[in-house]
């Protein structure tokens, strides 16, 4: 079965420290991977994606993510966290089953950056 896992419901980090939000996936074929952020009472905003090429992908707001094929992971990272980064983060992978091209979503990780 194709799936996405975000093993941490919540991540707490101090402002200025590096942050990591974890994501692992299980999908047939080549994975197309995405990270989105959701601020309170808002829709989701696209952060970055991995389709092919360099394993380190850079996205919006200083975020980056590292694709690791052997570990089937796509962790989101930022070198120095800001209080304004506090939000809900979702990992997603494109479903490759047959003609189905929907996104499969993780359950989300709540990031809290403390001043």
């Amino acid at each position: 079965a194709q799936s996405v896992a975000q093993p941490e419901d919540q991540v707490n980090v101090a402002e200025g420290n590096p942050l990591t939000v974890k994501c692992t996936y299980s999908v047939s074929g080549n994975p197309y991977l995405f990270w989105y952020v959701q601020y309170p009472n808002r829709g989701l905003q696209f952060l970055l994606k991995y389709i092919t090429g360099d394993n380190l992908v850079k996205g919006s707001y200083g975020f980056e993510a590292e694709f690791n094929k052997s570990q089937t992971s796509f962790h989101l990272k930022k070198p120095s966290a800001l209080v304004s980064d506090s939000a809900l983060y979702f990992c997603a992978v494109r479903c490759n089953a047959g003609n189905n091209r929907k996104l499969i979503w993780g359950l989300g990780t709540s990031l809290a950056v403390n001043p």
């Binding site: 009472n41 829709g43 989701l44 905003q45 696209f46 929907k102």
Partner: protein
């Protein structure tokens, strides 16, 4: 500016009323989606459309219905609202192609009393 719009942003309505949540996008995307999300929780796909006159039910069973008469417009209708429909409804769109990244509207927060 190309964007995706949802109206209303907030709606409080009584049980039994018929409601339509509007979603429009100006990006020319052929694919559109409706998700249901309780606050701070996971996303559930309830409907999607791959083009005009094409609609499919999503992974989560929903009593709502959708239509896609125009490329840019994908409204969601509840014939008789119930308190169990209280949730946030997110509309998204994507373009055909390899990446399938989706772009989201701001959402409609629905409360049924």
């Amino acid at each position: 500016e190309a964007d995706i719009y949802q109206t209303p942003r907030y709606l409080v309505i009584g049980t039994g009323k018929k409601i339509t949540l509007e979603c429009s996008q100006t990006m020319g995307h052929d694919k559109m989606y409706w998700y249901q999300q309780d606050p701070g929780m996971e996303l559930h796909l309830i409907h999607y459309s791959y083009g005009v006159n094409s609609t499919e039910k999503g992974d989560l069973s929903s009593e709502s219905t959708v239509s896609r008469i125009r490329t840019e417009h994908f409204p969601l209708t509840l014939e008789s609202a119930r308190p169990s429909h209280t949730s946030q409804y997110l509309c998204a769109s994507s373009v055909s192609g390899a990446s399938y990244e989706q772009y989201f509207g701001p959402g409609t927060r629905l409360t049924v009393t």
